[in-house]
Amino acid sequence: MNQRIRFTLNGQTAEVDTDPARSLLWVLRTDLGLTGTKFGCGEGHCGACTVLVNGQATESCSLPVGRAAGAEVTTIEGLAQGAQLHPVQLAFMEHDALQCGFCTPGMILRATALLRRDPDPTPEAIVAGLEGHLCRCGTHVRVIAAVRTAARALQGGAQ
């Protein structure tokens, strides 16, 4: 049974008329045309579909869109302020922390949420914070370095 579901998407109101049991991932990708959020495994174990829901990193493949009603959803497309990239995005570029790039949007959003919670994470905290994110190209060491750089940049920005 379809329902009209409304939520805030990257700062703007989004409204869809759909089955509330459908996953947020496919609603974002097919109904709303935001394909930066990737399908990786469909069961919340690879992190490629990660978005921010009310600031929390969330696997959108496992979230029924009905449960996003009224929430504030940020996808990778909404992270930069126009042409100004977010410090986490810049740090991933600086460290070349991506190869094929398929895991990158989810990885960046999870790292962004982590740094909001823990602005100065240790390498161990970064590894724990990014648990469940797979990068098959093996950029692990660089991802950790990028998150540390982003942390410094964000702290510098706050001073």
Partner: protein, 752 residues
């Protein structure tokens, strides 16, 4: 990675096949597969499925207008099953529907009755029954049978490596879009656009010029999309052809893990003989390759296994035989290293057993037998450089191997429940397709009238960094800033008859083709510049940093002005070039020749800690000296080394494909199939590039770097093996990879 490409990725704007906007009216396809590993197909009951909402077509082999065939090396693989099914998950029918959900629902409602036949999953058993994909092959040198008598030590054993699932994060997929006049355009997540074009044309029964295949980028390939992207593209094409509408087919993760091939499991028997000083005199090995149900790329993979049977060592008397065994599993396929890693593992197992027998460190035997410049591989080619021995010496001294060993020994003295092990892993990998015909590439370079440049080649970008390297090659050839150069998507209409982007050859072959096309344009531009600047000899003209130079001095004439002048003079600003790797040849009958343009090599020192109670292992450090020649892009190359070795560590220590008794894949999700996550990354990864020594190399003096580093991961197995032996001296671990926690515990608890 170049800046523009990276920006697309970090903003989520980089498009993969499933991200491309599709035309209105695009239909969705889902695949009906065999529920049984082996049997006679008794029919396809689609009555119920046809009545479901949204269903537009249910297609079987009878709907294929051309050849129902996707096999490339051997035509033994139907697109859709005919009378028999040969593995669980074999495509039997295609459902096309308005939505993805409707297609999948209907696919589940198609019944496939099968009269079961006994399945075979074991390679050795298949071999015993004569079930080979093609006759077994042998590479030999010297007189191995007589050599045993001269050996002071002879040991034998068995070594096994398991399958490895690719887990490219982007699953297999394609979109087929019918055009006017019986044409078809395909967006395919393939490493081999021309193979897709050829197979689709065959399936549809049309000339290849009616099929265009385009690839922008892949979300990882690792070999898994070299041959096995083709069936899904073929099915999407069939759906589009039969319905007249665009059709998208993208596999879900579980479908991909159940239906597609993996790295071949190998079970091998070895025998090795050494003299008193640890010099290897003789080596005999028999590889049983589990090919799965069809040939796929198995013949070529098996051949590379034989080429790399002696890896980085000189062995005077060798006999390596390999059998490609037909089983009722999804056909196994290319995976980074392409049969080489399986071969190298067996020899390292043989060395480890010999070392234990002789009371030596395995590294002593490795070092004493390392291939030196001028020594011959069993296939007749000579080692052209000292790069390998230099890598070994550099690794030993730079990372202070004796100190590493000392630290491990001290740790082991101080700890009872944790033990450390150290292993050294040398790698020597031949660069070129072993099938000589594939060693050719094309490039199309356009200089546009504003001075910007676009380059099309046969190379597919999948994260390995070929595109940024090609960009540098084009810019260096033309003497302009790389910012002016754009690498276009790979399209069979722009560059035809391409080889797959595989065998680590992408930058070399496509780079040379790009260089040749650039040089052709440059020669014309020199003539234009000579006329404009009234210089008699065009050869004195060069372009550097976007400025025309005469005899090395700036002439006050910019690249953009020169391009404008050439256009005004009606001089062509485009060129296509073809490159064929020179010299290489191989005689399959004698097993001798010069099959590789060069060898890429390196040495890794791996340190591991084993938790003796839990059986868990941790790879603490991997320290590498790698020979990348004159690296075009050290950041990219370093990434290839880091990523490759991590995949190798995964293959050796944690990734395990298990099957159900039915032949279905039990490890068909990312909860049951573990690939290295951030926790699994070694605490320390050091990569040092060897100072180039002027040996043969690829484009711009660089060496291929895609595959060789994977084999450093083999060192992880033997570091863990050493840790187990530290915990239980005298334990002779079975050489079965992956060395999972279960296997480590089993080894630790075996009665000694």
């Amino acid at each position: 990675m170049n800046h523009h490409e990276a920006v697309l990725h970090v903003r989520g704007e980089a498009r993969f096949v499933d991200d491309e906007p599709t035309p209105a009216g695009t239909l969705h396809a889902a695949v009906v597969t065999s529920p049984t590993a082996h049997g006679r197909l008794l029919g396809i009951d689609a009555g119920e499925a046809e009545r479901l909402p949204g269903v537009r077509a249910i297609l079987t082999c009878r709907d294929v207008p051309g050849k129902n065939q996707v096999g490339t090396i051997i035509p033994d693989e139907p697109l859709l099953a005919e009378a028999a099914v040969h593995y669980l998950g074999q495509p039997v029918a295609l459902v096309v529907a308005d939505s993805d959900a409707q297609a999948r629902r209907a696919a589940r409602a198609v019944h496939v009755p099968v009269e079961p036949l006994p399945p075979e999953f074991d390679a050795r058993a298949a071999n015993a029954r004569g079930e080979l994909i093609f006759p077994q092959r042998t590479f030999a040198r010297g007189d191995v049978d007589s050599a045993w008598a001269a050996c002071a030590v002879v040991v034998a054993g068995r070594a096994e490596t398991g399958a490895q699932e690719h887990v490219y994060l982007e699953t297999q997929g394609a979109v087929a879009i019918p055009g006017e006049g019986g044409t078809l355009r395909l967006l395919s997540a393939t490493q081999a656009p021309t193979a897709v074009q050829r197979v689709v044309a065959g399936v549809l029964g049309v000339p290849m010029h009616r099929v265009e295949v385009e690839v922008r980028r892949l979300g990882g390939g690792f070999g898994g999309k070299e041959d096995q992207a083709t069936p899904w593209a073929g099915l999407a094409a069939l759906g589009a052809w039969c319905t007249g509408r665009p059709v998208k087919l993208v596999l879900r993760r579980q479908e991909d893990m159940r239906w597609t091939g993996k790295r071949h499991p190998y079970s091998s028997d070895f025998r090795i003989g050494l003299d008193r000083d640890g010099r290897i005199l003789a080596y005999e090995v028999f590889f049983y390759q589990n090919a799965g149900a069809t040939a796929d790329l198995s013949p070529a993979i098996l051949e590379r296994t034989l080429f790399h049977a002696t890896n980085a060592y000189f062995i005077p008397h060798v006999r390596a035989t390999a059998a490609s065994c037909r089983t009722n599993l999804p056909s196994n396929t290319a995976f980074r290293g392409f049969g080489g890693p399986q071969a190298m593992f067996v020899l390292e197992a043989a060395i480890a057993r010999a070392a234990a027998e002789m009371g030596l460190e395995p590294a002593e035997i490795q070092r004493r037998n390392l291939l030196r410049e001028g020594e011959e591989f069993p296939y007749g080619m000579r080692m052209a450089s000292s790069a390998l021995t230099r890598c070994w010496t550099e690794a030993e001294t730079r990372y202070d191997l004796p100190a590493i060993r000392r630290r491990a020994a001290e740790f082991n003295d101080a700890h009872r429940l944790e033990k450390q092990g150290v292993a050294v892993m040398p790698v020597c990998f031949g660069i070129s397709f072993t099938n000589t015909v594939l060693n050719q590439a094309g490039a199309l370079v356009h200089v546009h009238t504003d001075g910007s440049v676009s380059v099309s080649t046969g190379a597919v970008e999948m994260g390995q960094g070929t595109a940024p390297k090609l960009r540098q090659v084009a810019a260096a050839t033309l003497g302009i800033d790389p910012e002016r150069v754009r690498i276009d998507s790979t399209s069979t209409s722009r560059v035809a008859s391409t080889s797959p982007t595989a065998a680590s050859t992408g930058p070399d072959m496509n780079g040379h083709a790009t260089r040749l096309a650039g040089e052709a344009i440059l020669a014309r531009l020199r003539e234009v510049a000579a006329r404009r600047l009234a210089v008699a000899d065009a050869a004195t003209i060069g372009i550097r940093a976007g400025q025309v130079h005469v005899l090395g001095r700036p002439a006050g004439f910019s690249w953009a002005e020169l391009v404008g002048a050439a256009y005004a003079e009606r001089v062509s600003l485009s060129a296509h070039a073809h490159y064929a790797t020179p010299r290489i040849h191989f005689d399959k009958a004698t097993g001798r020749g010069e099959p590789f343009a060069y060898h890429a090599c390196g040495v890794a020192i791996v340190e591991a800690t084993v938790d003796v109670l839990r059986g868990e292992c941790r790879i603490d450090a991997v320290r590498v000296v790698h020979d990348a020649g004159h690296s075009i892009d050290p950041l990219v190359d370093r990434g290839q080394v880091e990523g490759g070795l991590l995949q190798g560590i995964g293959w050796m220590t944690m990734e395990e494909v298990l099957h159900l008794p039915s032949g279905g894949v039990a490890t068909d999700t990312l909860t049951t199939y573990k690939v290295p996550d951030l926790y699994a990354a070694p605490d320390e990864v050091e990569v040092h590039f060897l100072e180039p020594g002027g040996e043969p190399a690829g484009i711009m003096g660089a060496k291929a770097v895609g595959e060789p580093p994977l084999m450093y991961g083999i060192g992880a197995f033997f570091a863990v093996h050493a840790a187990i032996r530290a915990a239980r001296p005298g334990t002779d671990t079975h050489f079965v990879a992956p060395l999972s926690a279960e296997r480590i515990l089993a080894a630790l608890s075996e009665p000694s």
